[in-house]
Symmetry: C2
Subunit: 379 residues, 2 copies
């Protein structure tokens, strides 16, 4: 049977995640993986979660297993409200921050509308934008924006990951954030601030969120994946109640409400101080891993290879001399036993085939050296 | 700030769930609620889940907290495969069966495409169909289908809840299912078979699923909400691998993967025999509630009021004499302390304002009599 004729027009713009396709085929424990954005299993508060699951079922009983409010359970919204200093009414819980990206795109974007991004940017966001047939434009300068508007394009929002960006590892300075907000006000578009790594800072001082600079036109996305555990699939959106109300109505049809017991566990974890304790350990671990990876790159990478020095997060970005092709190299690398993600997957136009993203959170510290040695030998 | 201009065209077709709006405003424990589709908290296997959460964290460790496959964890797909006799490759886990409806609609429907349904039908499905600007048509006879096609409409699928339908409580006979499949083949559309209540049968013999009659063109949706607990937000889709593959790609962008620890708990619950034990108790409880509600309606409802006699599920449907308006009555009923859902919300065109849906799973058996007495006194 030929199913093609049944599919919606959107499906023609669906992108398969090359990262997820890699993970479908290989056993991560058998290779040196610098691919993916998996947190280290060492950071998972296994014993705490074991205890909290019993606590939550004791404390909330059947309520933890019943349907709940589409906005999320009040307890979790309150804990987030306290931690980040925003009113409860400005908080919507999402079933993963990937859903946060998706639902924002769904309520804002019509086919052909423009979404602005930095270039490169997060692959999962590109997947979502393209799935709604947005025109995604990587922005280098103001003139591009003016030209788009002059040509009649409708710019809906700028998508930014200001802290320890995926994939580059770079952080926007306060000046850059202020400038972005000024552009958003001048040209009248919204900002989606994707902030899953913000709390994972290993050096330097935090920079104000974009949301704090322009709460009226920013949707700020948070995630429990990197500060608790990704298996819970919980995130949140902070934004103007008028925007959240539309997201709320959309979410009713998407999945009614986020998982309830998981939300109560997250609220106990964040509200009870366990999160901060675990976060301190996580930061310590990842700082060491980042430093180790940086020293290994210094030691093994051939001349002409450069890389970013992230102040936090999970990734750094490698640039090889012109002419190298990390997409073409990939199968050989995987066969040899080392995985990365080709940098071009993060570029809107698939360019920059001489770049690659390296993750330093997942692989055991002791396995990094043989992994990088192997990777360097392939270059 | 006026946010309207930022919203996508789809948002103009978003529907707020009147059921969810009711629940936003009232404390369910303070009224006699025959509204909603909430399972009884008595059916939740609280102690088992407490035990299974420890078992799962012990057995799977960090794996239960890490990211997982977009299709769902293999263990859960295998357990479903065994229980329902379908290959693992034909199973996709969803983050709630509401997501199942939504993702099927997203990959199949363009604005203006036709979705056929019985009339009345599930409100959450109407919300999803309309949110993608489908033309939803309640079908009474074959001629309507032929006319739609003659007029150039593109019919994508028929949405059916064949077992103990929401809201009517009615079950399609085998003949009706065979006829639907014949129509689908003749006029070349797919069938989305939504089956959250199938295992809750209180009398009579099960009827074959539509999927078993036409596996090549049916997407069958299952749910853990009524056989385990809705708080887990887990469901599944059974269908042809070619259709599931597109759903898989879509789900990558929607939320990457379903909640992992919850999936392991569901697989232990279903695979280990706990589900069947709990289901037997649930069926016993709900059969008693259904019988009690039927006897109360017999006892208290004025002449001219009729209702369905469901063989399973959570709902029955009441028809009042012409001229009654359950939408208009609603605020008065709520103020008096009794809640239902107006039947017209389930009709594609909002007609049949003299009907109402009554749920019999949620309210304690002991509170049903004063509730129905009160409701009858308002009619």
């Amino acid at each position: 049977m030929d199913y093609k004729k049944y599919f919606s027009a959107d499906t023609e713009s669906f992108m398969r995640s090359p990262v997820r396709e890699i993970f479908r085929k290989v056993d991560l424990s058998q290779i040196y993986s610098f691919a993916g954005g998996y947190p280290s299993a060492e950071t998972f508060p296994l014993e705490t979660i074991k205890r909290l699951s019993a606590v939550v079922l004791e404390k909330y009983g059947a309520k933890a297993l019943q349907y709940g409010a589409t906005q999320g359970v009040p307890e979790l919204r309150e804990v987030i409200s306290k931690r980040y200093g925003v009113p409860v009414d400005n908080i919507q819980i999402t079933t993963s921050s990937q859903q946060g990206i998706d639902v924002c795109t769904r309520v804002l974007v019509d086919p052909g509308d423009v979404v602005l991004t930095t270039n490169p940017t997060y692959l999962g966001a590109l997947q979502s934008f393209k799935s709604y047939r947005a025109e995604v434009v990587g922005i280098e300068n103001e003139k591009q924006i003016a030209d788009l508007l002059a040509a009649g394009s409708k710019i809906k929002f700028f998508y930014a990951i200001p802290d320890f960006q995926n994939p580059s590892g770079q952080t926007m300075t306060l000046e850059q954030r202020v400038e972005l907000v000024a552009l958003a006000r001048k040209y009248d578009f919204l900002i989606v601030e994707d902030s899953p790594y913000r709390e994972l800072r290993y050096e330097g001082a935090p920079v104000q969120t974009i949301y704090s600079l322009a709460p009226e036109r920013t949707l700020h996305l948070g995630s429990f994946s990197k500060i608790m555990a990704p298996g819970f699939r919980l995130g949140w959106i902070i934004g103007a109640p008028e925007l959240l109300d539309m997201i709320y109505v959309c979410k009713q049809a998407l999945d009614l409400c986020p998982p309830i017991m998981d939300q109560y566990m997250a609220s106990e974890f964040m509200g009870g101080g366990e999160l901060d304790k675990n976060l301190a350990k996580t930061i310590e671990l990842y700082r060491g891993k980042r430093d180790h990876l940086l020293s290994l790159l210094e030691k093994y990478m051939p001349d002409g290879v450069t890389w970013t020095h992230p102040e936090g997060g999970l990734f750094l970005f490698l640039t090889l001399p012109e002419g190298y092709d990390t997409v073409a190299l990939y199968d050989r690398a995987l066969a040899a036993g080392v995985a990365y993600v080709a940098g071009s997957f993060f570029y809107v136009d698939g360019s920059h085939r001489n770049t690659m993203r390296l993750n330093f959170s997942f692989l055991d510290t002791s396995r990094m050296e043989p992994g990088i040695k192997l990777l360097a030998s392939l270059l």
